[in-house]
């Protein structure tokens, strides 16, 4: 079994002997090595979040350039992880699709259609020998003003796209996915917590990202920036950035919550020591 690729991995138009397309898998790896992006479908809206490392102190923080969450049309947003330049191409294409839909059909593109078109576009680049797959995963959140429904999708470099209650991509995806499954996003949570609202989601996402950085050195923690956006009643169902006060509050809460959990663990350990005596 040629699981190493070994000659079958030079082109997206080559299948390996076990029927895999290695170029697409490698594109997925490019995403897996990048900063984490999250999306949550809440009872009253969608929240998108991407973590960024400010790569230099000379860069203006929270500036309007170098964003990783973009609006597409009025009622949809896309968050990216992976190659930022590939992602830019996808944003441009998504905006064209949205504008095209509006012109042809007269209403805002529903998130399902947008996700479908983006996944078809991304898939095209996995078929031809002359092209390479996009090294970026898009998390698409949108609101359909006609049906009055919000929905969350994720489009991967292979062109696979599903509708999600909660999705993560990037290097923190395993840890964050585990955390997301504990929340009541599907409405069918066995632990019976309340369905997650957008405000709650903002806090939880901040917590998940900061937990990823728990064991990293302070220099990295200082450079961490969170880009968050939402589509909810407060934003009049338009895609908008989460106001910075709310993000900052969420970050403070996240830090306290993590510290408190850390203390509990330490206390438990101390208790064990005492009992052993």
């Amino acid at each position: 079994m040629a699981s190493s690729g070994a000659g079958y991995d030079y082109s997206p138009s080559t299948f390996s002997p076990d029927g895999r397309i290695f170029q697409v898998e490698y594109a997925n790896k490019a995403v897996e090595n990048s900063g984490t992006g999250l999306g949550m479908h809440c009872s009253n809206g969608i929240v998108l979040c991407v973590e960024k490392q400010r790569s230099s102190n000379m860069l203006v923080p929270h500036s309007t350039s170098g964003k990783r969450v973009h609006s597409v049309g009025k009622h949809a947003g896309m968050a990216f992880t992976g190659f930022v330049s590939d992602a830019r191409q996808l944003v441009n294409r998504a905006r064209e699709e949205a504008a095209n839909y509006k012109e042809t059909y007269g209403s805002h593109v529903p998130p399902a259609v947008l996700a479908d078109r983006m996944s078809a576009y991304v898939h095209y680049f996995t078929c031809h020998g002359a092209l390479r797959p996009f090294g970026a995963t898009a998390i698409i959140g949108g609101y359909d003003p006609d049906l009055k429904e919000h929905a969350l999708y994720m489009v991967e470099p292979s062109g696979v796209s599903y509708q999600y209650y909660g999705c993560v991509a990037g290097n923190g995806r395993q840890a964050c996915k585990t955390e997301m499954e504990k929340l009541n996003l599907t409405g069918k949570n066995v632990s019976g917590g309340d369905p997650v609202t957008v405000n709650e989601a903002v806090k939880q996402m901040a917590r998940m990202v900061y937990m990823l950085y728990e064991d990293k050195d302070d220099a990295k923690k200082d450079k961490l920036e969170l880009e968050m956006s939402w589509i909810c009643e407060d934003s009049k169902w338009e895609h908008a950035s989460v106001p910075s006060e709310i993000v900052n509050e969420a970050i403070e809460w996240a830090k306290e919550d993590i510290a408190a959990a850390q203390e509990e663990d330490d206390d438990d350990e101390d208790e064990d020591d005492v009992m052993e005596d």
Binding site: T14, G19, G129, S158, M180, L185
Partner: protein
Amino acid sequence: MSRDSNYDHHISIFSPQGRLYQIEYAFKAATASTTATAVRSSKNNCACIVSQKKLPDGNRLIVADSPTVSNLHSVTNSIGCILTGRVPDCKALLQRLRYEAADFTFKFGYACPVSVLAKRVADLAQVYTQSASMRPLAVQTILIGPGEVFKVDCAGHFLPFKGTASGSKEQEAINYLEKITGNFEDMNQDEVVRSAIMALGSVLGSDFRGSELEVGIVNGNERFRKLTEDEIEGHLNVIADSDA
């Protein structure tokens, strides 16, 4: 078996034994998916597809009843299909199927017959096996219309069937169907559905709940539609009673 490993990197290269390995690898990718069965009765003008419904990677964060998870699709009012294999390839092929069928109706003024659509898709698949720059789409297609079942594979073969299957357990399902194929012609819509479900059940070796299956039917009286969970449960109960 010498795998002629120098000859399998490109679709346009034959091996010394005359094989096109890239197509065989595409088949491997196309059959590595959930199993589906399809049965038809040409006398009673009905057909049915049954497929397993599984959440990708068992990821419970994926919305399970969203159309994105389903393999079973309508192509026109009277043509349904199931596409198994690589998911994004399936999506691309579905777009093409719908376009070709609609284009036929636009050009010629009547509903596209299943056989014509199957041939068109097969021809497209064949082109991909002869172009150097594109790869074959790793998809197996089963098309159904009233009284017809066609299967199209990634190499561009297509044939009409009385009953067929696709996916990882297709051979076993086909073996099961071959044993009962004599009875298909006399079956009505409900019996056709039950045969397809039983074929899938025998292969997967487990009892189903309505939520684990997707069933699509089409016949002369109604357009292609998917059965509701209650209807599927109804069929499952009838099967269970007749076994008991």
